[in-house]
């Protein structure tokens, strides 16, 4: 599994103990009803004052499913680090993951159940008891039409997903939706169309020698960024002569606006937005035409790709013929090369076509099922079908229409915020008004929760029991248990326990006999244990081991030959992208991207994330519009000029930032700010580009085509220079960042370090 065994892990965490199942034991010791002058007159059992205790759990900040180790002192969480044993992140963690502590200790958390006591949206809530909140909800559910009950949750996996299924089964409604703004619907659809695969495969960036990324910002937000970063680092400099022949991986990024992954790449290639699929087919054409593909179906491919000559593709994409043929040559020669696609390229109206064409590249260079290529994942050990519950834009529109038509009686929302992450044009906010009862389980007063009638606030992920089976997996089944690392701060409950509370009120106990999420989870894991995972000892020691190490895995990889779906080669084509708005009136394509710090907006209430400078611009606390300097110059716009960005569906204001690596007819805006709720750090700051997106959908997957909106920019005549931490953005000959042409110098060459040698004395380390 990971490269650290359990003993090693215990040693690594050194000082403190590694704990299992803290939270509830701690509850009493911390939340004494009276305060003592001398702390801990009765010493709690789980920790020694002054010594850190670490708990392993699962990160809940994005869907990647990294393992975390949380350092606690005296019952309080102090630091989140990656769990070194977890194969997804191997001890590492991104900025957003580490900011999870500010979710836990956020001053704007909902502290207990509340009932709306005024007009919706007024924030006129009054405190209630759990008994009251649950009874009200249960009453409404019992009185509702069966298909008038909707449950809309953030994407959940593992046993919580199973519990939702059981609950809906008892309610007799099939209207369970998971909704994540950034869920890669087109990628799932493309893998289904091309490979007939239900799950996403594992993309082995670590062992690849040549990565062609079509719009996937794999280092920041695509699928599993920490895992990809580990792979990137290894591919760059981790190869010595014993692995991968010491070849330094080459990375090519194709996207209209340079992302973090684009900056990290050796080559950044802007192709016209929406034509990434044409480029993939052009490269595929070249590979086949050059005779570099020798499979049995070579003639099929030749016919299918005949129309995609470099000349035609160059005209469509704006990428030169020479570049296309060079990319094809380099990619085919790399062995293994890997092509990935996503982000803006997948979010055009032709996104699935594009990603299928990217899959074709992988197939043609024969990297399927091989190290450094595309490796298929086995189904997650449990809860795998939850992925089918993911709601795309069409499903959400369906919900909105049903709400408008009065077909929804009760909507339960669990920690997802469509009022922020759906375009205004969707009519979601207005549709909410037509739903008689809305219950929110959110931990925060977000835009959607503001419209609710009953608030049953759930624990944060650091206080709750749960588990997670990361998707996409890492090529073999992995599971991790999420355990409470501190006692609950407030009168909230875990999502699972809230559902089980409703189960009790509705009398579903026969079918769902559990009384706590912990029991439900434990019983679920007993099944995993009994299925024969060949762990020594009884279940209790297995359970404790999983809690202590924070992760469980099975050595079960997928074998077998690669089969692609019939007819897929013959049907290989990419349709032309559609855009909302005429190019005359709306000259720019809006490229709205997930920001490093705030993801889809969920990080905006975390002060650390507000003060984390955007890596590309060093801007904090705001929203801005990135423009090509030449275009801005033509329009008479300067850095910091406030402009009105107008689409067919609305307009927002933001300051211009001159960005050297963006196409002249594209403007880019980060997603994340522009909240009108979500607490003091998020509210009334910046603008939300999702608001003005046109409701264009990706034709095959039904996903919102977030890259398909054209906008116009109008100067307001005002200035509002964004706050930056960075100074001069050019080196001016100072040689601060230096680069070298070659990877290795002749043997025996010693480090000069600007002519002052560092004296390295011989070791004085004693063997321990």
């Amino acid at each position: 599994m990971a490269n650290v065994d359990r003993r090693e892990f215990l040693r690594l965490v050194g000082a403190g103990g590694v704990g299992a199942g803290a939270g509830f034991m701690l509850a009493e010791s911390i939340k004494h009803p009276v305060e003592y002058l001398i702390p801990y007159p009765v010493p709690p059992e789980e920790f020694s004052p002054g010594i850190a205790t670490w708990y392993n759990s699962v990160c809940g900040m994005c869907p990647a499913g990294c393992g975390i180790s949380v350092r606690t002192r005296e019952g309080r969480a102090k630091k989140i680090e990656g769990n070194p044993l977890h194969p997804v992140n191997q001890g590492r963690l991104c900025a957003l993951g580490q900011a999870g502590l500010q979710v836990l200790y956020n001053p704007d958390r909902l502290t207990g159940p509340m009932i709306q006591n005024g007009e919706r949206g007024d924030d006129a809530f009054v405190k209630a008891t759990w008994e009251d909140g649950l009874s009200r909800t249960a009453e409404r559910l019992a009185a509702a039409r069966r298909d008038g009950i909707y449950v809309l949750s953030q994407g959940v996996r593992g046993h919580l997903a199973n519990l939702f299924e059981l609950f809906m089964g008892e309610l007799g409604s099939d209207r369970l939706l998971h909704y994540d703004f950034a869920h890669p619907h087109p990628l799932y659809a493309a893998n289904k169309r091309f490979f007939g695969e239900h799950q996403l495969p594992y993309y082995d960036i670590r062992n690849t020698r040549y990565l062609l990324s079509f719009g996937a910002d794999y280092l920041t937000n695509w699928l599993s960024p920490v895992h990809h970063s580990l792979g990137f680092g290894h591919s760059r400099q981790g190869n010595d002569s014993s692995s991968n022949d010491g070849v330094r991986g080459r990375f090519v990024q194709i996207e209209p606006r340079m992302s973090i992954s684009g900056a990290a790449a050796d080559e950044w290639i802007p192709a016209r937005p929406g034509t990434e699929g044409f480029l993939a087919l052009g490269i595929a054409h070249h590979i086949v035409a050059d005779g570099r593909y020798a499979g049995d179906d070579a003639s099929l491919w030749r016919t299918a790709l005949a129309g995609w000559s470099s000349g035609r593709v160059a005209g469509l994409t704006g990428v030169s013929e020479g570049t296309i043929s060079r990319l094809a040559r380099e990619f085919a020669r790399a062995e293994p090369g890997l092509a990935i696609g996503g982000g803006a390229a997948g979010n055009h109206t032709n996104g699935v076509d594009t990603l299928v064409a990217v899959n074709a590249l992988n197939y043609l260079v024969g990297n399927i099922g091989k190290a450094g290529g595309v490796v298929f994942n086995p189904d997650p050990v449990t809860g795998g079908s939850a992925i089918d519950r993911q709601a795309n834009y069409r499903t959400m529109q369906n919900l909105i229409e049903n709400a408008r038509d009065g077909n929804i009686d009760v909507l339960i929302v669990n920690n997802t915020n469509p009022a922020f992450t759906l375009p205004r044009a969707s009519g979601f906010r207005e549709a909410l008004a037509a739903i008689p009862t809305i219950v929110s389980l959110s931990s925060f007063m977000d835009e959607t929760t503001l419209m609710a009638d009953v608030l049953l606030p759930s624990h944060t992920y650091l206080e709750a029991w749960g588990d997670d089976m990361p998707q996409p997996g890492v090529g073999f089944p992995v599971g991790a248990i999420s355990q409470p690392v501190v006692a609950p701060l407030y009168n909230s409950r875990s999502t699972g326990d809230i559902i089980l509370g409703l189960v009790g009120k509705l009398g579903f106990n026969e079918a769902i006999p559990w009384t706590s999420m912990e029991d439900f989870l434990k019983d679920g894991w007993r099944e995993i244990y009994e299925r024969g995972s060949r762990e020594p000892g009884d279940f209790d020691s297995f359970w404790r081991d999983v809690l202590v190490s924070g992760v469980w895995g099975e050595n079960a990889r997928r074998g077998g030959s690669v089969v692609i779906a019939p007819g897929v080669i013959e049907g290989m084509a990419v349709s032309a992208p559609r855009f909302s708005g005429e190019s005359g009136e709306y000259p720019f394509i809006l490229h709205a991207y997930l920001s490093t710090a705030m993801y889809d907006g969920r990080g905006a209430n975390l002060p650390w994330m507000q003060e984390l400078p955007d890596p590309m611009t060093s801007i904090v606390y705001g929203t801005w519009v990135e423009m090509n300097p030449a275009t801005a110059n033509e329009m008479g716009l300067a850095d910091g000029d406030l402009v009105r960005v107008t689409s067919e569906k609305g307009s927002i204001e933001a300051p211009v930032v001159l960005f050297p690596a963006i196409m002249p007819d594209v403007v880019a805006m980060p997603i994340g700010q522009g909240h009108d709720a979500l607490g003091r750090y998020a509210r009334n700051r910046g603008a939300n580009p999702i608001e003005i997106l046109a409701p264009e959908t990706e034709s095959a997957s039904g996903n919102l085509a977030t890259s398909a909106t054209r906008v116009a920019l109008v100067a307001t005549g005002r200035r509002a220079a964004p706050v930056k931490t960075g100074g001069e953005s050019r080196q001016l000959g100072r040689g601060i960042v230096q680069s070298t042409g070659s990877r290795s110098a002749p043997a025996g060459h010693s480090a000069k370090l600007n002519s002052i040698p560092i004296i390295v004395e011989s070791a004085v380390v004693e063997s321990a």
Binding site: L101, R250, P660, Q731, A751, E761
Partner: protein, 255 residues
């Protein structure tokens, strides 16, 4: 002996070549710019570990940000050939630190591990050290900082919370070094093992761009890494002898 004589003799004594090599450890960090992606995980890791305050938008606008480690970015070329280079910048823990010579109250000094240490309760806030630092990695507390309750529950009890009028900067996570030494002592070892101490930034780095260790141990990972032919020191011509060593980014398409 006059003050000047004492100063000069002290200077000679403490600035002789190899002086710091006689100390216990020589903590060193290497940062591989070919691996660094600029993601900012190190920045947040540092803020969480070292109780770095949130200063707010208006303070940052005045140039009063607090980030012991930051990601500097430098553009090169113009569209469509623009490139962006990142470099994490933190206190370089210089062996010949310009900041140390200028402090009137010796609030910043060199300790036996080769660390450029800062004594908060000795600092009187002249900010001279910040002026002398060529890397501008020293941060001054212009105001007292406040954590909205219950955010203060996250504060690391191993690290002091600084007050108004005090200069602060990266310590190489001295609290972690201290702890590792204590463990070594408890285990009856004379020295800390290679890899036993990792500052928060190094620990978090998703692309494993940073290595931390003792350069006196020739077999340590950091010693090997700093002898890479790509190694260089930022503003090395100033002869400040940083303990942070960068490995050059590889430009595969350069001649």
């Amino acid at each position: 002996m006059s003050i000047l004589d004492r100063f000069v003799s002290g200077w000679r004594e403490f600035r002789k070549d190899g002086y710091y090599e006689e100390f216990d450890y020589a903590w060193t960090m290497t940062i591989d710019l070919d691996r660094c992606t600029g993601c900012g995980a190190c920045v947040t890791a540092c803020q969480a570990e070292n109780n770095i305050p949130i200063v707010g938008e208006s303070a940052i606008d005045k140039g009063r940000e607090m980030q012991w480690i930051r990601i500097e970015r430098y553009w090169e070329g113009e569209y469509p050939n623009a490139k962006l280079n990142f470099i994490p910048m933190l206190c370089q823990q210089c062996d010949a630190a310009p900041c140390e010579t200028v402090c009137p109250v010796t609030a910043t000094y060199h300790n036996q591990d080769g660390l450029n240490a800062q004594v908060y309760n000795r600092c009187i806030g002249t900010r001279s050290c910040a002026v002398y630092c060529p890397y501008t990695v020293r941060y001054f507390n212009f105001t007292d900082h406040h954590w909205d309750a219950p955010l203060e529950q996250q504060l690391n009890p191993d690290v002091t919370v600084r007050e108004k009028g005090v200069m602060e900067k990266c310590t190489f996570c001295v609290q972690r070094i201290r702890q590792a030494k204590d463990h070594a002592k408890d285990d009856g070892r004379r020295r800390v093992r290679d890899g036993e101490v990792q500052p928060a930034c190094v620990q978090s780095c998703p692309s494993e761009a940073m290595i931390f260790g003792d350069r006196k141990d020739a077999s340590s990972r950091v010693s090997k890494s700093m002898n890479d032919e790509r190694a260089y020191r930022v503003l090395g011509e100033l002869n400040t002898r940083p303990s942070v060593i960068y490995l050059k980014k590889v430009d595969a398409d350069a001649d």
